[in-house]
């Protein structure tokens, strides 16, 4: 018995030693050498601001997840990343990933109370206002330099959605990719992934980054749902209906103060859950959803002493197609009534923002934003017999003027006042 205990102790110690430990985190910082300090990921502790603003001075509870952590934990989607952040929980209905913050978050809520940004630009779609965080987000975490999570409301700067949290994805520059990589993966559940990335910072002030990802997965082959456990519905087993197919492209070009970012992502998901009263285990016309995001963004940033001026223009497009097999009234071809839902959301955004510290205790942010939601179209129809249930073509414009002041009242208290009209 004693020998067994010694052996298990030895095994435990060995396993504990073998676990990866964040670089340099064991020793107190002042004990580290300069070389070790310089190797630490400081992006984790400093925000995106030009000045090295400590996290502890940020007006909200902020978390960072760095490229290094993304690689180390093997995160494959933004949902994976957010699941690992304190105070956040992610659920998955085998179609979309749903995010909850600090205990709030209703499944099926489209994440519309969370603002999702890419390099500070809003990517919640223009029809549902949803923040898509699973593979449907359209960007590969391998192209993320850092993800910033800012808890609490920040609507005066960012507009609506910024209620529970702001999630800002900072994408990689060519210098971070630093050369070319090709990754090929194969895994369980019929998962295959291929990614090629290339990036370089030229001495002339030009920085180029490009990445393309293709991924597909068969998912779980046989899924059992007790609610459908009848002989007519395959005894509750959905067979081969859990697959996913993803394409993602990313590119960024920086020349001095000017940055162009382009991204396109598409995800097709087969849904095994027979949601919305569709037919269970339907093989001929399976329930499927396809989400596509396109982003084109140009930003020009200039520093005048302590004042930061940013001018940016962006184009976003979100399209969605869902196929839903309902029970038809006949047999043969009329056995299934196929419903199709489509969304087309197109948005142009233009804006100017000025950030300026006032004295030692205040930071002022002011800006003007114009948004033209060119298309906010929704359509719902049956294919055969052709029948249109809903056909909405909408357009809306918004102009917003905003001002925010952050006042440091004491070393432990920061007040933030914001106004958006």
């Amino acid at each position: 018995m004693f020998h067994q205990m010694v052996r298990s102790l030895a095994l435990g110690v060995a396993l504990a030693l073998a676990l990866p430990v964040a670089a340099g985190a064991q020793a107190p910082l002042p004990d580290l050498t300069l070389e070790e300090l310089m190797a630490l990921d400081a992006g984790q502790v400093y925000g995106a601001s030009e000045r090295l603003q400590p996290v502890t001075e940020a007006p909200a509870s902020v978390s960072f997840v760095t490229a290094d952590e993304i690689a180390r934990f093997g995160y494959r989607t933004l949902a994976d990343i957010l699941r690992g952040v304190r105070g956040m929980h992610v659920s998955d209905d085998r179609n979309f990933s749903l995010l909850g913050v600090r205990g709030f978050g209703k499944p099926g809520d489209y994440n519309s109370r969370i603002l999702l940004l890419v390099n500070g630009h809003r990517v919640n779609d223009t029809v549902f206002g949803q923040a898509e965080i699973g593979a449907e987000f359209g960007m590969d975490p391998a192209t993320f330099e850092r993800v910033e999570i800012i808890r609490g409301p920040a609507s005066s700067i960012y507009g609506d959605s910024a209620f529970f949290a702001v999630v800002n994805v900072i994408t990689k520059k060519g210098a971070s990719i630093g050369g070319g990589t090709v990754a090929l993966e194969a895994g369980s559940l019929g998962t295959q992934m291929a990614r090629a990335s290339v990036g370089h910072a030229f001495g002339t002030g030009v920085d180029v980054a490009m990445s393309a990802t293709f991924e597909q997965s068969d998912g779980v082959g046989r899924l059992y749902f007790p609610a459908f456990d009848t002989p007519e519905t395959n005894n509750g087993v959905a067979e081969n209906l859990d697959g996913e197919r993803v394409h993602q492209f990313y590119g960024q070009l920086t020349y001095k103060s000017l940055t162009f970012t382009a991204a396109y992502g598409s995800r097709r998901r087969t849904v095994p859950t027979a949601s919305f009263n569709t037919l269970f285990n339907e093989q001929q016309f399976p329930e499927q959803t396809t989400d596509r995001h396109t982003l084109l963004d140009a930003e020009w940033v200039r520093l005048y002493g302590e004042t930061r001026l940013s001018i940016r223009g962006s184009f976003d497009r979100f399209t969605y197609d869902g196929t839903y097999p309902f029970a038809g009234e006949g047999t043969g071809p009329a056995r299934v009534l196929v419903g199709v839902n489509s969304v087309n959301g197109v948005r142009w955004t233009g804006g100017v923002r000025v950030t300026r510290p006032i004295g030692t205790r205040q930071t002022m942010i002011a800006g003007l934003e114009y948004i033209d939601n060119v298309n906010q179209d929704q359509e719902s129809r049956y294919i055969d017999p052709p029948f249109v249930l809903l056909d909405l073509d909408r357009r809306a414009q918004q102009t917003a003027l905003y001002l925010q002041d952050e006042i440091k009242l004491a070393s432990w208290l920061i007040g933030t006042v914001g106004l958006r009209a």
Binding site: G12, S176, S411
Partner: protein, 184 residues
Amino acid sequence: MTMPCVRVVEARCLRLIASIVLMVILRPYGVVTQEVTGPALTAAFLFNFLKFTTWPQDVLPDAAPLTMCVVNAPAIGSALTGAVKGRVVAGHAIRVAQPTDDAALRGCHLLFVSGPRPAALKAIGVVRDTPVLTVSDLQGFTTDGGIAQLHLQQGQLRFAFGLDAVRASRLQISSKLLALARQP
């Protein structure tokens, strides 16, 4: 690995469980992210700079206390106070001060300034061309007469030196430190 614990709980299985429990208990706490804060990292850099800098005898005699000053950055001031607690560099005990007047500024050996540029440059002006190692995270600090500037490069903290300011200050900065410097 097959699932050894599925059938019955036997000795082998108990050993495995004990190992996993030990593994969790003994696991170093370092895996938790974000225990490193911005001010603490900056403070660690400043402390390291001391090891590579030699002050003239007239401003820092042997065994005299070394004063590190912080202006317009209370978070870094308190991080630095914690970082240098009980530490000695080359026989010098270390004090941390947050000076408010010019006389106190002149008593500094290392001076970190941050915050708005005019206030920072005013503080630097007071100790210009004297043996005070001035450090800041302001952009263009070395071209404004400062000695060392901290900056971020690809997510890592780096520093650069203004060599003219180093020469004028009569400080001796080790070539080891200069070799690690990177221009922003």
